[in-house]
Symmetry: D2
Subunit: 233 residues, 4 copies
Amino acid sequence: MKQPTFISALNVDLLEHMASDAIVARRARVSTNGALVPPKAKDAGLIGMLMRDRHGLPFEHCVFSFEIHCPIFVMRELMRHRIASYSEESARYRQLEPAFYVPDADRKLVQTGKVGAYHFEAGSAEQVIRANFAIRTTSLAAYAEYDRMLVNGIAREVARMVLPVNIYSTVHMTINARSLMNVLSLRVIDSDSTYPSFPQWEIEQVARQMEEAFAEKMPVTHAAFVKAGRVAP
Amino acid sequence: MKQPTFISALNVDLLEHMASDAIVARRARVSTNGALVPPKAKDAGLIGMLMRDRHGLPFEHCVFSFEIHCPIFVMRELMRHRIASYSEESARYRQLEPAFYVPDADRKLVQTGKVGAYHFEAGSAEQVIRANFAIRTTSLAAYAEYDRMLVNGIAREVARMVLPVNIYSTVHMTINARSLMNVLSLRVIDSDSTYPSFPQWEIEQVARQMEEAFAEKMPVTHAAFVKAGRVAP
Amino acid sequence: MKQPTFISALNVDLLEHMASDAIVARRARVSTNGALVPPKAKDAGLIGMLMRDRHGLPFEHCVFSFEIHCPIFVMRELMRHRIASYSEESARYRQLEPAFYVPDADRKLVQTGKVGAYHFEAGSAEQVIRANFAIRTTSLAAYAEYDRMLVNGIAREVARMVLPVNIYSTVHMTINARSLMNVLSLRVIDSDSTYPSFPQWEIEQVARQMEEAFAEKMPVTHAAFVKAGRVAP
Amino acid sequence: MKQPTFISALNVDLLEHMASDAIVARRARVSTNGALVPPKAKDAGLIGMLMRDRHGLPFEHCVFSFEIHCPIFVMRELMRHRIASYSEESARYRQLEPAFYVPDADRKLVQTGKVGAYHFEAGSAEQVIRANFAIRTTSLAAYAEYDRMLVNGIAREVARMVLPVNIYSTVHMTINARSLMNVLSLRVIDSDSTYPSFPQWEIEQVARQMEEAFAEKMPVTHAAFVKAGRVAP
């Protein structure tokens, strides 16, 4: 049996992209004035106007494709976003690697307050130890049973039933900039947002990395999104 | 701690529907001849023609809403169908019930052959016992750790990381008849299908119950779908 | 040749629906507490919370199917809303009826100001007469040429090229309540809206009739939508 | 008034793309074996298998963005394909150019037979002359009325009501390779197709140019699509 590993990384890599502020500006100009090409300096004003007035269509012509390595409980939240394309590794066609997620020190474990107003705290030293111990021992035991069933000739799609949702999976996700802004509006916490969002900490780490790629490739659009209170147009 | 239960049921209930062969026929007639209303006897011919020529739009005006109770590994496959609406119970806002899926005697556990040509067999008595034992003990141990973390004040969204993918969840799924036929074409095995499909046994049981509701409410459409080789129009 | 008619009506009829506030509340409760069914009096609070926090999913389980009779230039705007199903009469399979749209007295004809801040005025008596005359004579001449080509054996799909965009068409449109709220947020002007919208007058008349059906079948949801500044969740 | 022009061109230009056979193969390998990278020579076999078994997801990660210049009656058909993004020039924000479509000698004008089995013929010399004359005179008269209303101060969105559906418009359309294959399966006639399609001649010219770009950027995928009977996976 392969030796299980416990990791806290939530990695997002940009694979391909077809995205720039210039593409957005070009699409926006089709609808108002195809012939005229104003100086590039005015793209920021145009994009800000699109965002403010919620003209979302021009942003759909920009596309990002990410490779994401995260546990299944994050994958489940991610895939609720339907305006995107997902290719995920299959537990029916291959044995899953024994990589399991454990919270690191940045992840607060204790939650107080009510729905819609949760507050998180790190938790006591004892709670941190207990949680880590529970997650590690359960993962190890589950993977051992999984491996044993495979050795005994049970089908992969049956054996995987015992695996916990903190096991890692890999997905390639392709999403346009408009749909991505919707993801960011729901999955990243920012006190300046017009609408509150309540993402789980782990998916927020994933979304923040997507936002970095978005901000790098489409800086004017990203700035306009933030300025507009992070409301997806 | 609540006492865990082990079940093999995969339940689908039809909650609401807005679906009939008459709705399809009415929509199809809008495009060719809104005024003329031929005798109802001819609906079957019209619907058969739509299916054969892959005019899928009229079927989208019929909608089914199901309540589905199934383990997370089935839920994950189900939610890959993006042209549908899902409201699922949340493991962040409430403690999950200790209901776990175990294969029953109908579920063959051993797989032979290659990708695209798998063959399943029941498995030996020993394999059946081992698989059941592995699934039950892992589920019990995981739920005990889950419950202990909750008792110790760990947030639900953290504690649930140890739960295996055979724990049950509930979803309300609303889907139109065109998208539903696509689900059925991929998730139900029928030797008369034009294209092969390789669904996991558990999601096939869910899909078969959806198909029953579909066949009951839209018998003419269902018959035409089967006759057309189960290719979604 | 059939005698052309000139009309200003923009009709929307509700054909079927699967929609109620109770469906929304039931779906929302799946995610937080499937077992508990609080007294119905609390549905309004629950729905208001969904709207405020932009939890849009529960609204997708409600569906409306409309028959809409409107000119092609309105149909073109309507069909830009992609999360909906449309079955429209075909000008390839049948001769279109000679029904043409003309603005009535409520339709202001003159536009002043800049993009994003247009102001409309009724126009002078002369402008009203000129516009009506231009629209009527062009429609009559176009339909006469259309009919003549058909008489001469030209294919319908070729002959229809001369028809103006004010000719009427009929569509059956099925849309869920979440997508419908998005349509309403963009196609109905309301000074209390959080975001401005700039719909053309004619599509606004269509959207207002959809909103009436929505308000009648889902009064609590509609009230919450208006209270939330007409921002689709 | 600008001088109207009559043209028969239906132009499609590829603006940007993020598309290659290698992207498809890479996505397909995520689900079965992320680590292993077989020699490139085997991509054709992998892609052929995806197409045959209708695994459409890997193709969604490839995206094309086209600029299309075509008359409104073609635009209307094009935009019925909802899994795509469209930015079209607006007749509300600017005056439309007087460019009108007329059939050229390749366009057969006369249709015989029944629905589903239409046959087209060139038409007699007289029919060709009559159709051209009708289309040209109607377009000229309509544009003159449009221009006159604008001169008289009528709003663009009102004046445009008289314009016929053969006036040109421009759209930027972004679509993934899976959705594009669906467009091609419905909008291009090929006697080797598994399912028949009945596109209007003009949209077929548009679709054929999209197919050229698709075949150039994704030759292996295109060949597999043709070999699979032009059924979109």
